[in-house]
């Protein structure tokens, strides 16, 4: 691990200002992803700003009937929250489908949104990777790409976003609240939060340097059956090959978002009108522009079958 200096932030505005002021600084909360990458010297911050003392660990109702989740609420606490279990079951299900009990006790809401890809070429510092080292090329394009993206990818990057939680957040139209280095606040709809790789896969979201996530808000509950189905290579503690988050209403209408297929949680609202007509039609529309590799073309029928299983479960 490269040397760094360390400070504890005492207010959100101070934290954002300190981060903007100090070149090479990073916020640290749970640390489960950042420290792992620092040990590998993939992340090399010169300064760490510990935000764990900022008190952003509450879950409170919003005035319009939704829920405001503090940035530092741990994944395990969010999954176990009574309101989340009752009104946003798909979020609770997505959270407990991810990582391990120990990691969920550390990982935070904001950190989960910001976690980096688990593409093996990003992790292997002997390999080219445009995300880790812009301009070095993509080792995955001609390499082992079974786990990687099938849609929204580019010639520069076919990495996926690894989060389960973010897929449920996208389905629920969450909004990311931040404080910017000048002290002003911003609300970013989650659909606009994560970026596609394009020519700049190292730029993964729309935060400005130093901008700190303070909370994630959920709109008022939408009812329906909440289902998160994750397909992975072992039954626990593994990243998704594909995952399907869905809320299905009694009349068959609903919403669907996918994990494990793109650089961000993948949702095509226009395709949701086809929900009552079944998985085949929805999948055809959601993945209409898919550009899989030879290794991961199987994900297209896998999404269709997984969504089919989800819709069958919703009807049962």
């Amino acid at each position: 691990m490269r040397p760094f200096t360390y400070e504890r932030a005492t207010s959100t505005a101070d934290a954002a200002a300190a981060a903007a002021r100090t070149i090479g600084s990073r916020f640290i909360a749970g640390g489960t992803n950042l420290l792992d990458l620092m040990k590998l010297e993939i992340e090399t911050p010169g300064h760490l700003i510990d935000v764990n003392g900022l008190g952003l660990d509450r879950i409170e109702p919003t005035k319009d009937g939704g829920l405001r989740i503090g940035a530092l609420v741990r994944n395990s606490d969010l999954a176990a929250n009574a309101e989340v279990r009752r009104d946003y079951g798909v979020l609770s299900r997505a959270l407990v489908a991810g990582a391990s009990g120990q990691l969920r006790n550390m990982a935070t809401t904001a950190g989960n949104l910001l976690q980096r890809t688990r593409c093996p070429y990003f992790y292997d510092t002997n390999m080219p990777c445009n995300k880790r080292k812009p301009g070095s090329g993509c080792g995955a394009l001609e390499g082992y790409s079974r786990q990687l993206a099938i849609i929204g990818s580019s010639d520069a990057c076919i990495a996926t976003h690894p989060s389960d939680m973010a897929v449920a957040m996208r389905l629920l139209d969450a909004v990311v609240e931040t404080v910017q280095p000048d002290g002003s606040n911003r609300a970013i709809p989650i659909a606009d939060f994560h970026r596609l790789p394009g020519d700049t896969p190292h730029v993964e979201n729309t935060l400005v340097p130093g901008e700190l996530i303070t909370a994630v808000t959920l709109p008022k509950p939408i009812g329906g059956r909440h289902i998160y189905r994750k397909v992975r290579d072992r039954s626990s503690f593994a990243f998704a090959v594909v995952s399907v988050a869905a809320v299905v209403q009694p009349d068959g209408s609903g919403r669907v978002a996918l994990g494990g297929v793109a650089h961000k949680p993948w949702r095509v609202e226009a395709a949701e009108a086809a929900m009552p007509r079944g998985a085949k039609e929805v999948t055809a529309q959601v993945l209409a522009r898919a550009r899989p590799t030879h290794d991961n073309a199987f994900k297209i029928p896998l999404v269709e079958r997984t969504l089919g299983a989800v819709l069958a479960e919703a009807r049962s």
Partner: protein, 208 residues
Amino acid sequence: MAVEFEVTRRGVIVGGAAGAALVSAPHIEARAQTPARQATVPLTLEVNGKRRKLDVDPRTTLLDALREHLHLTGTKKGCDQGQCGACTVLVEGRRINSCLTLAVMQDGQSITTIEGLGTPDKLHPMQAAFVRHDGFQCGYCTPGQVCSAVAVLDEIKAGMPSHVTGDLEADPQLTNIEIRERMSGNICRCGAYPNIVEAIAEVAGGTA
């Protein structure tokens, strides 16, 4: 509040120890040079009921602080990247991977390691159950397994759901599959899983 960085003689020694722990890293030669004089950060941990003051290189993980500074070597370093669970300890009663948090981030926290759960003369009930059910072979993962298992029973008692919990709004049941899912962050390469689950179920008073 910026933490004041003290440069001490002990800090230099600490920096050397942290370097030694990294010798197994394959790209060690490629690492940037460690500064000759290492700034350290003072912190206090309450470890197994005792207040312990430390000065550490900010890079020191909680795991290395416990093992290399406090010489509590019961907590094991397996993968050092949060995948194996050998380093599991309890912080304020909650299980975490001590390899993926910095010691400075835990300043003022109460830590329980395997040494704090039981002693050879007075085993914790979970330790005794692991012995009774032969819940190990080589024993390397066992301290992490035991710490994790103690926390798992608390989590079930607190009604926290897992991936295999059927009804999100009902209290989770203490079944074999619940224990296995909740223990998935602790790997046992000897494959003692069936006996580990039996040991945990016995302590819980259930029949898994």
